[in-house]
Symmetry: C2
Subunit: 239 residues, 2 copies
Amino acid sequence: MIRNVSYVYGSHPSAERQQRSRGGRPRDAEREAEILAVVTALLAERGYEGITFEEVARRAGASKPTLYRRWKSRREMVVAAVKAGPARRDDQDEINTGSLRGDLLALCERLIRTMHSTDSQTALLLLQAGLEDPELCEDIERAAGPTGARLPTAVVDAAIRRGELPDDVDPFPFEEVAGATLLLRRLNGLSTDSAYLTALVDSILIPALRATSQRSAALPAGIFSGRPTPAPTSSEGHP
Amino acid sequence: MIRNVSYVYGSHPSAERQQRSRGGRPRDAEREAEILAVVTALLAERGYEGITFEEVARRAGASKPTLYRRWKSRREMVVAAVKAGPARRDDQDEINTGSLRGDLLALCERLIRTMHSTDSQTALLLLQAGLEDPELCEDIERAAGPTGARLPTAVVDAAIRRGELPDDVDPFPFEEVAGATLLLRRLNGLSTDSAYLTALVDSILIPALRATSQRSAALPAGIFSGRPTPAPTSSEGHP
DNA sequence: ACACATACGACACGTTCCGTATCATACGGA
DNA sequence: TCCGTATGATACGGAACGTGTCGTATGTGT
């Protein structure tokens, strides 16, 4: 969700300006990294509202004009900081409980952990920013990289090998539904305890998987839906 | 979603203070309504960030202390304004296309319209506020009223009468999945065109409905999931 | 080597908004 | 009538904004 906001972006606004300049002193990339590290720390410490140019300047030992030269708004600065942050690494641990049902439950639990991580809190934050700023949305979407679709696919593949699912099944239901539903529950502040997960898996995911063919494979998705956004499918959706 | 934030709330903080005061001049309810109307207008006009106590005071011809006496933060004021706004009226038009599939598609389309309304934009805004403020979340949740669950139920009932669904089916899949999935697509800025709706209905909703029994009826839900939050089921979910 | 263009830190400035305090005054309840 | 509170006006210190202007540092291009 959030248009894959959180992890990979395009070039800084600064880069554009630097391209056009002919000579002179170039910007210090390390200095910039230090500043963005401060922003990241501040973001984790006080949240979005707690970030001010003044405080960033204080902590980084930089001057405000230096900050304003690079980013013209708080949002832009935060976006740059998130981009510069450590890339999200896919969960490496395999999931193999021996059954589709067990695998799906494990997958849901892992998804919940991911959503509770700092990164996704940041993403949630950028969501609102993006909603209010279509241009930012497009930048983000354009530069977004794939998110962790490997595990869901592997789980479904394993189920196919076991004969639990037909071989033309599409992981769409898990990617689309599990991510959306779990995140929304989190947003609503409702619990995602084992009773809920059981109902989700047994009543929705498994029945839907069993009934799904490749018919829906062409649909794009975003963060938390587990599948990378393909080509700029359509810029619709922003009223 | 958003813990039913948007429409029905409990009493103002001011009410509490007024209860305890013994005599003296009471607050002017009309004055308060005027102020909140200004807040609402400002919210629509400039968004959450654009609302300041100064500006509200200017437009309403009130003084800042008057505002601070009633609400101690911008967020609180906005929440009150949203509460005071016109109550959401359930869509009155019936849905009757003659088939479960058609009904579900129509229901999804209506849900999309609802989510694109101003109200839900406000709700989205309060979502972030709520996430950062567990107390506010609880207030909101406590005071939340039921949301539009009538139509989904009616659609499912009709399908049961037609024999398209077993009579012990639970509307959980639609309520939980359709709302979550569609809202998340909106957040991601992805389209919810007819191809998507078709896939959602055919690949997920209908198979899940066919396979679902009452097993999941006890699960609570929130805004956009179509079912009112029952008793304070569990305060978990806020890490 | 030199000139130039630019980044940088430091500091200052006017502005906006915050949140609080202090008035005199208006107004309803006992 | 008297008391208690709400109200509007105004003032205040503080924080942060966004910009301007220095002198200095440090690259690029000739």
